[in-house]
């Protein structure tokens, strides 16, 4: 499964803002970390703002602040602001529409779609930030631990 760039940026921006509730972040700061243009991120933030998830703070030192509930907002809530995940019904005019083969294929795809939605709908922003922190700790531990088989002196 692959998310649209806007959806990915929205999730990344949410993570940054949830992790930095004590200050505002600019699109330039967020964009620099994820290699995204300020222009694209500004559009993403506008959508998130309309959804009530972020608040723009104007003036010097301004930027964006998280204004949602990180323990209630799921990845699915964020992603669905930007794209529709999976088919909810067989598309009219799709190849095989109305055939047994088309219906069987649709049933399989719906099974996958249900799992995707259940997964994304069960991970809140707070939980996702926890996953990020865990990954950071794992990577730090890997970097600081000595190699399993140090090279022998020659």
């Amino acid at each position: 499964m692959k998310l649209q760039i806007s959806s990915q940026l929205a999730v990344f921006a949410m993570v940054e803002l949830v992790a930095n509730t004590d200050r505002q972040l600019t699109v330039a700061e967020i964009g620099a970390k994820y290699g995204a243009s300020s222009h694209h991120l500004a559009k993403v933030m506008h959508v998130l703002g309309d959804a009530g998830l972020v608040r723009a703070v104007r003036g010097a030192g301004g930027g964006y602040q998280f204004s949602g509930n990180a323990r209630r907002t799921t990845l699915l809530d964020v992603i669905e602001l930007f794209e529709r995940l999976g088919p909810s019904g067989q598309d009219a005019g799709a190849a095989g529409e109305g055939t047994n083969e088309g219906l069987a294929l649709h049933a399989v795809l719906r099974e996958i779609d249900d799992t995707v939605r259940a997964t994304l709908g069960s991970i809140t922003l707070a939980t996702f930030c926890g996953l990020v922190r865990r990954r950071q700790m794992e990577r730090s531990a890997t970097r600081s631990s000595p190699p399993a088989n140090p090279p022998a002196n020659r």
Binding site: R71, T74, S122, I123, A126
Partner: protein, 178 residues
């Protein structure tokens, strides 16, 4: 008297933030709830709590689980959370056991059921119960803990996710019969 009630109670270590009562010492003070092994007298309250959540009355099922957990000396856990202020009031429960080689799975801890009274949510009862049973699984050498959640049950799904649980290597399959 219930046969299971004569068995020695298993020791359950307290989770962080919770206190123990009657499981290896006097109750500590200051906790919002205590974590302890279930007793026969708790089962009607467990059944009532579950019925309040699921709208299904299945007291014989809980009684059966309780008797099974008491009848086997190790690897079976039926644990409850109670308020120190009103020890008769059940705040939550968890049931789990170690299962081996089902579906080819190496021994691991399974959480069968977890329930928290709606009035006691948001104070860490579920987390403390899960921590308590995880600690017991770990003590018995387990490195994995598993559970199963209906996809549409958003609240328990979010809870287990928040506790660090992720999709495992098995997919549950089913078909209609008849």
């Amino acid at each position: 008297m219930n046969r299971a009630a004569k068995k020695p109670r298993k020791r359950v270590r307290p989770a962080a933030g919770a206190t123990t009562r009657g499981v290896g010492g006097s109750p500590a003070s200051g906790g919002q709830f205590t974590i302890q092994p279930a007793q026969q007298g708790d089962i009607p309250a467990v059944a009532a709590l579950d019925a309040g959540i699921t709208s299904l009355d299945k007291e014989p099922h809980w009684q059966d689980l309780f008797e099974r957990s008491n009848a086997r000396p190790t690897g079976h856990f039926f644990v409850v959370a109670k308020s120190p202020a009103s020890p008769d009031a059940l705040l939550g429960f968890i049931v789990g056991e170690i299962r081996a080689w089902e579906f080819g799975s190496a021994p691991c801890g399974w959480v069968y059921a977890l329930g928290v009274a709606p009035r006691a949510r948001g104070i860490g009862v579920g987390e403390a119960l899960l921590d308590a049973i995880a600690r017991e699984f770990r003590r018995l050498g387990m490195t994995k803990m598993r559970t199963m959640v209906a996809k549409q049950d958003a609240l328990p799904m979010m809870f287990f996710r928040a506790e660090g649980m992720m999709a495992g290597p098995y997919i549950q399959l089913e078909r209609n019969l008849g």
